[in-house]
Symmetry: C2
Subunit: 120 residues, 2 copies
Amino acid sequence: MASPKPRLQLRVRFGSEHSLGMGKVQLLEAVDELGSISAAARSMNMAYRHAWELIDDLNRCFGEKVVSTASGGSRGGGAELTALGHELVARFRDMEARAREALADDLAALDRRARGGDER
Amino acid sequence: MASPKPRLQLRVRFGSEHSLGMGKVQLLEAVDELGSISAAARSMNMAYRHAWELIDDLNRCFGEKVVSTASGGSRGGGAELTALGHELVARFRDMEARAREALADDLAALDRRARGGDER
């Protein structure tokens, strides 16, 4: 059985307090798709409070909201990405794609090394 | 007060079980420098058992040891990196440097975005 290819993940650290990585980007993408923080959290098996803390970490990091929420109303707390939220998702996914391309040979070499051991 | 520039970190995931990231690379570098897993763990404020588990995760991922240990003897458990251990450290640091260079413009843009909010 072939194991999956090694996968590169990025994280951007802003000082010791804030960071942007795949988890937060996936959460923003889920908010964008589902229109609600609680639905996004559920879709990722994450507590609402944790999802909110991840979003608030980005809000504080950038001094500007990444998700705008409509409290009350018929949808009871609908949410959508702000322009900044969309920008962060697009930039991160682009950075990820370019890093994977730039390091493709290294990932292939690590893959051969791992296969050489596990499943020659 | 200027905040530090955003810093890019990489992690390579091998399937769902194994990964190689900055934590393990720093641990290998500490073993290389200090010649002992327990001294390396202490230098990183890490429990010996946790350090050993991180090293063993790499051993299992690559089906080959990344650290060789001399049990007993006058140094009571000296350790050094194997050729594979050295190779992983060098490759990871090189990947990191090239990714940071390839994504320098994005990191600068994220920095401006974060500063725009926090400390205009």
